[in-house]
Symmetry: C2
Subunit: 343 residues, 2 copies
DNA sequence: CTGAAAGCGCTTACAG
DNA sequence: CTGAAAGCGCTTACAG
């Protein structure tokens, strides 16, 4: 029963139409819509039937205007976007969050804030209440946006621990150090002793923790640390390639390398190939993420699986809880070694 | 001058606060907000100053409630999502659209509708007016969603020509046939004669047109058609690998292969490598897209560049025009051959 | 050019 | 359990 006005354009049915159709007041319809408390079964049923007949869908703008909630969530990506978009992990995360939210019938707004200007604009938009909460993905975790949003009282959960904000901001992260430990232990168990590493950016917890895990295991195995075996990257493929070239140059006898992301590992493989090194015979290569990139290369990458599905689900769960009034919380998820052909 | 109520929570300033601060009526503030027509320069200035002082940001819910517009756009992805998320092209498109829209200060809602159920739910949501228009990305272009949205009068622009809807639905697409022609001509010019092809899905215009271009050029070059040299894929990496294995099996003398997407070409390269064929010495490989996948492999892929930045910009432009009342329009953009190491 | 007023579609105390 | 009424923050004819 879609309404049609003079112009021929459809006018969607309102709560008023439903009330008339059901023979009750608009208040009663609204009560049914909002959980059915204090409504008689008879009224309940009449309203539901009327909703079905009219094809009524709530007008969220009207609802939001009065409740002060927007019933939508922002997915905010700050800093270098190219890097994230290049990274298959990003996709998995974005998809996971969208789906988890769809389960609650909550639309997700995608927000990109690559420049200072955009960041200002979007922070304003968010603090004006246009979303109820924010899922934050940012590379440099010293990011001021997190702090600004927190100050403004916007519910927020970050992917990965935001540096400097302690536990004031919720976050969900994989156990980076433990994952790194597993990989390096695996490399050691293969008999490798000259194990290099290409790290992630060292101003991020992921970068720092994975390096720490690497160092710990070497020390435990009684293998002497050698700084020439450590190069630092920024998670991009190109930086992986550059890092491997550096390592090869400084330590030609390297027999294994732990790379802090699968994407960088792609670059490492390319560099190794150019240098005529066989993988895994001459150099074993271990990645991190278990992203689609891991199986897109030859040989397929042994790697540390980050539980992205769980990460996105937990991010959504924690955010919704916080919107509901809970205090911030941190969630650390375990990783898993996935053995393939590169080790 | 953010308001604070008894509870200590911030109450954002409203148009009322701005009016009081500027010493004008709320109507005048609204007029300034909406283009400044019929407002004296003095009032204009007073209002702008008041907005600055109060940090006022319009409440979009209130505005949408009365205008009937949502001032937001949906980016709708139907059908197999994994495929899109796996495909780097998707990223470029999504990012391009988000940015083009941000330029107009219009938020983008990401909508995934992989199942029949979700499609129903989202169609409802959209037709209820929660977005002003839809950017549609769908693989099987016989997709009923496009037809449903069109019938409901929702402004819509598809990425790629939707089959069966003629020019009733706006779309933006690269010139698939011409791009394919350029690649095959290139292969022929290299002296290759046993040129295979791995096609895209043949129920999509891209799949059909690229195959048509391939056949045309072979005919023009006087090379006899050989069905054993054609395998069909679905744009996924895996289908590229399977396709190449098939071709190798049926036509061992194949000396070149045109692959309808870079991602499938990754698979082709892997299959060729396994079979011990050198690229490009034994088999030249040409891709399509010029996605990040093209340079992520060794050897780097010769390919046909799809102008994704322009495609996303045009999609947004056409959609906004249509929301403004324009009729649907189709935009076809030229492609370009990018020569790298695989040919 | 400007103000006063109506109204967009909802939710939520407030009485009953 | 239910209806009548107020009000969320804005825009837009309508008079002036």
């Amino acid at each position: 029963m879609t309404m049609t006005n003079a112009g021929g354009r459809r006018r969607p049915p309102t709560i008023h139409d439903v009330a008339r159709e059901a023979g009750v007041s608009r208040g009663t319809v609204s009560r049914v819509l909002n959980g059915g408390h204090y409504v008689s079964p008879a009224a309940q049923e009449a309203v539901n039937a009327a909703i079905r007949r009219t094809g009524y869908v709530v007008n969220r703008h009207a609802r939001s205007l009065i409740t002060g909630r927007s019933d939508s969530i922002g997915f905010l990506l700050t800093e270098p976007q190219e890097r994230f978009f290049e990274d298959p992990n990003f996709n998995v995360l974005l998809r996971g969050c969208t789906q988890a939210l769809a389960g609650h019938d909550i639309p997700l707004l995608l927000m990109l804030a690559g420049t200072e200007d955009e960041r200002r604009r979007i922070t304003r938009y968010i603090t004006a209440g246009h979303v109820d909460g924010v899922l934050l993905v940012s590379s440099h975790s010293g990011d001021p946006v997190a702090e600004q949003l927190r100050e403004a009282g916007v519910p927020l959960v970050a992917c990965g621990k935001p540096i400097g904000l302690g536990s004031k901001v919720s976050y969900v992260a994989a156990d980076d150090r433990d994952g790194a430990r597993d990989m390096v232990k695996h490399l050691v168990s293969l008999g490798r002793r000259r194990i290099g590493m290409v790290t992630g950016p060292l101003d991020t917890p992921g970068g720092v923790e994975r390096l720490a895990g690497y160092r710990e295991v070497l020390a435990e195995a009684g293998i002497e640390a050698d700084d020439r075996l450590v190069a630092s990257g920024d998670y991009s493929r190109a930086s992986g390639e550059a890092g491997a070239e550096q390592l090869l140059d400084r330590a030609a006898d390297m027999d294994a390398v732990f790379v802090a992301s699968d994407l960088m590992a792609q670059g490492v493989l390319a560099a190794l190939h150019k240098a005529g090194r066989r993988v895994p015979e001459d150099v074993a290569v271990g990645g991190f993420d278990d992203s689609p990139a891991a199986t897109a290369v030859t040989p397929a990458l042994t790697t540390i699986r980050q539980p992205w599905d769980r990460i996105s689900n937990e991010m959504v769960r924690v955010l919704l809880a916080q919107i509901g009034g809970d205090d911030p919380a941190a969630v650390i998820l375990p990783t898993e070694l996935v053995r393939r052909d590169s080790t």
